[in-house]
């Protein structure tokens, strides 16, 4: 299983802070993004945002990273702390 997390504006727009998905063959950060985008038009819109960021196991990465079972994948907008 893969744990997927959503933060800030995304979490609010999707009314979801986390969910679990099954690992599939050759799964990447982009595969997960596309899979989630297929949920409905809302998810399609949110998951296609230009500035969407993704972290795997708490490290920001790009859309080609391979996913392994047990990974924690997080989607969020650009950060605005400090």
């Amino acid at each position: 299983m893969i744990k997927v997390l959503f933060f800030a504006r995304l979490r609010e727009q999707l009314s979801t802070d986390s969910l679990q998905i099954q690992l599939s063959d050759n799964m990447t950060t982009d595969t997960i993004r596309q899979q989630l985008a297929e949920t409905d038009t809302l998810w399609a819109k949110v998951m296609s945002a230009d500035n969407l960021l993704v972290a795997v196991n708490q490290e920001v990465t790009d859309w080609t990273q391979q996913i392994n079972d047990g990974d924690e994948v997080a989607f969020f907008p650009p950060v605005t702390g400090g």
Binding site: F7, A8, A55, Q58, F76, P77, V79, T80, G81, G82
Partner: protein
């Protein structure tokens, strides 16, 4: 020392810890506060969300990077989350070094990188409702400039 916490911090206590070593000639601190306006709109407060676990990891990485570039002794990074009202303290960065140039540069580097890399998100409570902040180009520029300067 890295702390991510809901509660407020006391600058006097942080300063006492930082200023305790006779090898240091310089102590530089930065405090970021909830300001009463942003881009022309009245701000009444902030709600700060973060990604527990990743936040601490990123802050540790940033501290490590600063220590690679400057001769630092003590480094303190404190960032709050949760609901904050007008004028409240959000973030504390404190750095000590034998040399003032190093202390200034590292302190500014730490807050610039925190702003673009640490997973915090601000939602502003304004007179027109509550709004998630957009990332600022000026913040990206600031950390970009460090990358260029430090890779020289």
């Amino acid at each position: 020392m890295i702390k991510v916490q809901q509660s407020d911090f006391v600058v006097a206590d942080e300063y006492r810890y930082l200023a305790n070593d006779n090898q240091d000639g310089a102590v530089v601190t930065f405090v970021g506060k909830v300001r009463d306006f942003n881009e022309g709109i009245d701000v009444q407060g902030l709600s700060l969300e973060h990604y527990p676990g990743m936040t601490e990891k990123v802050l540790n990485d940033i501290e490590k990077k600063a220590r690679e570039h400057w001769p630092l002794n003590k480094v303190t990074i404190i960032h709050r989350f949760g609901d904050l009202t007008l004028g409240e303290q959000i973030v504390f960065i404190g750095v000590t070094s034998p040399h003032r140039k190093a202390a200034f540069a590292a302190c500014e580097f730490l807050i610039d990188f925190l702003k673009t890399q640490a997973p915090f998100w601000k939602k502003e409570l304004t007179s027109e409702g509550s709004v998630w902040l957009d990332a600022k180009n000026s913040d990206d520029d600031a950390s970009q400039q460090w990358q260029e300067k430090l890779n020289d």
